[in-house]
Symmetry: C2
Subunit: 213 residues, 2 copies
């Protein structure tokens, strides 16, 4: 029995979990859920939020919310770790991850974009400007923190990937897809390059999963 | 030397940290930052994101992002805990907390509301409808999960407060402030009542902090 991951190739929250599973060397049964075709709505394996990712455990229980899944995987499969040992460095990794999970990603969710062009009658251009605004502003905060706070090494915190890197790389994929400006993000882009040289990141890329389009 | 908390009385993310500090019985030096007066902008103690809450440790280092701070406090001061022992129950507490931290709260941030009425030219009524939409939808997901997933007890997960409760209670305060509909949230409101009977929640309420207005 292995983990079952419900995922959508382009969902950056799904990619976070794909990275963590691969980093831990865990076998996973990949189940695609097409969000644009709304296959998530009413899906029996996704729970009340009807969102991906969802991870079903070998005993059938289901976990949701990508960061909660990452923490679970790190607790159950501690090697190689996704959090540093030092308590303040751990907080730093989590905090950078949350800078992406709470300050950037939720504003560019499909359901939020649908609200913008629906009830708020934003046009396609206003939608893109909105998306880029939050991605550019949020990624600048991450860059500044990496430069100023003294935790960054070859990765976001020290010299090994952590939760923060699992969130950063998918967010950058998303930022490029919507043509956000990435100038001035030297530290961020250096770290991305190092991550993408690792199989756990490269082999789980949206272009490499079974439902890639 | 004690912890220093930079907080705004009405910031629900700040209240989360106030609850956790009080729950752990920790002494804190409370420093108010008035968000509406934009005292956060350029503030030397808030870091790149210029947001509250920020927790300065006795050694002068600074932690940001409320959930990262809660995890830090729980690791450094394990009793009384803010996460259950069972690994799946821990994931459940984190996941419910993230349902609020990622799916509800970021959409109703001051900077997001400013963007709505600024570049997107939403009027006051559209702004309120937007806020209520995300709060009502998000809280319904939480209610449904509490009913269906078998973890809820007298609190969100089992019979003691956890991260999930630290996030739920401030979100409900916010929902009432903007007159979101709370009908059908029986489990959620039961849990809120039990939380607010505890000093860690009641004594840190926005109306009870030094900068209360």
């Amino acid at each position: 029995m292995s983990y079952v991951l419900h995922s959508y190739f382009r969902s950056s929250a799904s990619w976070r979990v794909r990275i963590a599973l691969a980093w831990k060397g865990l076998v996973v049964d990949y189940q695609a859920v097409h969000l644009v075709k709304k296959e998530n709505l009413g899906h029996p394996q996704l729970g009340a939020a009807q969102a991906v990712p969802a991870l079903t455990l070998p005993d059938g229980r289901r976990l949701t919310q990508s960061l909660a899944i990452l923490e679970y995987l790190d607790e159950q499969h501690p090697e190689p770790p996704l959090l540093p040992r030092d308590p303040v460095a751990r907080a730093q990794a989590r905090s950078l991850a949350l800078d992406i999970a709470c300050e950037i990603h939720p504003l560019n969710n499909l359901r939020v974009l649908r609200y913008l062009v629906g009830p708020l009658k934003a046009d396609e251009d206003q939608k893109l400007v909105w998306m880029r605004h939050w991605m550019e502003q949020g990624l600048r905060v991450v860059e500044q923190r990496l430069r100023e706070e003294g935790f960054a090494g070859t990765f976001c915190v020290g010299d090994a990937p952590s939760l923060a890197d699992c969130l950063l790389v998918p967010q950058l994929f998303n930022a490029r897809r919507f043509e956000a400006r990435l100038d001035g993000l030297e530290r961020v882009l250096d770290i991305e390059r190092r991550c993408l040289a690792l199989p756990a990141f490269a082999d789980t890329h949206p272009s490499r999963v079974p439902d890639a389009e």
